[in-house]
């Protein structure tokens, strides 16, 4: 459960989110809006990457300001550009990065890394340099590296923006099968089919909160 209470956020004197109150318990939540509408800042609030200027964000009762470490353990975050979030030189090492920092025994670490590589179609690339993967494979690697730590919530900030349609659909199909609560920020509106709820942001305000078809209609109306 993600709870956002009285949240506003500013970058300097520029407000980017204004008076946000939300309770998100649905399995699949989409977020759409124009560039600069505040949706990426909203995503970053959920795992405590950004702390609100005012108000409070809680995930499963944990406050992002007070319990940042625990929140980040519960909330995995996938960025737009996979190159910027791949930390280790090879595929298997990057998947294992988060687990190593949690001090898992080597045997268990190896098993979980192998499992994640197999689950996301990267088993044949374990020792390959991560930067030589295709765009879709890199995003799968980024996803695998986050999911191997078994977060309760997955936040994805435009994970398909740099991908072609085939890879976007691949990521979408992977996300569709996840047991986690997913908060997906996207410009690819077709990815929201089957979602439980979609939020529409405009100039830092939540202007629509509905089921996908109605929310997307509202968004298209906003864009003219």
């Amino acid at each position: 459960m993600i709870e956002v209470a009285g949240v506003s956020h500013r970058y300097g004197s520029r407000p980017v989110l204004v008076d946000l109150d939300l309770r998100l318990s649905e399995h699949r939540v989409g977020v759409v809006g124009a560039n600069g509408s505040g949706k990426s800042t909203f995503a970053r609030l959920v795992n405590g990457l950004v702390l609100p200027t005012s108000g409070r964000v809680r995930v499963d009762g944990l406050d992002t300001r007070r319990d940042g470490r625990e929140v980040r353990r519960r909330v995995g975050f996938c960025f737009t550009d996979p190159d910027a979030q791949i930390v280790m030189p090879t595929v298997a090492e990057d998947v294992g990065f988060g687990l190593r920092r949690r001090g898992l025994p080597k045997q268990e670490l190896r098993q979980r890394v192998d499992g994640a590589l197999a689950a996301y179609g990267l088993a044949g690339h374990a020792d390959h340099p991560a930067h030589l993967l295709s765009g879709g494979q890199k995003q799968l690697l980024a996803l695998a590296s986050v999911l191997v730590t078994q977060p309760a919530v997955l936040v994805m900030d435009e994970p398909t923006t740099l991908l072609d349609l085939r890879n976007a659909r691949l990521i979408s199909s992977v996300v569709a099968g996840l047991p986690q609560q997913v908060l997906l920020v996207t410009h690819h509106l077709e990815l929201l089919d089957g979602f439980d709820r979609v939020l529409v942001f405009d100039e830092g305000r939540l202007v629509a909160d509905d089921e996908p078809a109605a929310a997307v209609r509202h968004y298209r109306g906003l864009m003219g």
């Binding site: 795992n47 990457l49 940042g68 470490r69 980040r72 353990r73 995995g76 975050f77 960025f79 550009d81 190159d83 910027a84 979030q85 791949i86 930390v87 280790m88 030189p89 090879t90 090492e93 294992g96 990065f97 988060g98 190593r100 920092r101 020792d127 340099p129 991560a130 930067h131 030589l132 590296s145 986050v146």
Partner: protein, 200 residues
């Protein structure tokens, strides 16, 4: 795309040696290099290193790729030394430089980054007394290795953008966007590390 200094999977003796031992040998080679004064000594060292490369069974193209980035500085150094100190000194200085680059590459090519990081973390443990976090030192090493192909990739993008706009080989037009992109990448990487709980 660059494979500069990146681990090449293998089962050779060098691949199986402990990372700490290889790092110590590299440090010893670096320290010992100050004793090299004659061209024949460079040749002996080159033959020894060549034998290690043969032992590691690395493809020749990977070996060549390790020295290519330092060719221009090696050429410049050679010319300066040739004028200032004569050909023998030029061979020694550039030879030692090249061999040390190849020796360092041999370590990273035959060792998983995680093993290198573990060795560095272990080696840095006494530094806790000086409030140095060994895990952080290890992370810096890993990020350094990971950043090499990233920066090479960024440089290729900038060069392509220059060519597409018909710009000549202007160092300023190359360096400024490269630095800006590298800083942006560093910023995004920092955010990704924070998201993965590295700062906690």
């Amino acid at each position: 795309m660059s494979t500069l200094g990146l681990f090449q999977p293998g089962t050779s003796v060098l691949h199986r040696l402990p990372a700490g031992l290889k790092l110590l040998a590299l440090v010893a080679a670096g320290v010992g290099s100050v004793l090299v004064e004659r061209p024949w000594q460079v040749l002996v060292a080159a033959a020894l290193l060549g034998a290690f490369y043969a032992l590691a069974r690395l493809p020749p193209r990977v070996v060549v790729a390790q020295v290519r980035p330092v060719l221009w500085i090696a050429t410049l150094t050679f010319l300066v030394q040739l004028v200032v100190s004569g050909w023998q000194r030029a061979v020694v200085v550039v030879g030692v430089l090249g061999l040390l680059v190849l020796a360092a590459a041999l370590v990273t090519l035959t060792t998983r980054t995680t093993d290198l990081v573990d060795a560095v973390v272990t080696g840095c443990r006494p530094l806790r007394l000086l409030r140095v976090d060994p895990e952080r030192v290890g992370l810096v090493i890993a990020l350094g290795i990971r950043s090499v192909p990233v920066v090479v990739g960024l440089a290729e993008q900038v060069r392509d953008a220059q060519r597409a706009r018909g710009l000549g080989a202007s160092p300023r037009a190359f360096a400024v966007p490269l630095v800006v992109r590298a800083l942006r990448h560093a910023d995004a990487l920092g955010e990704a590390l924070a998201a993965r709980g590295v700062d906690d």
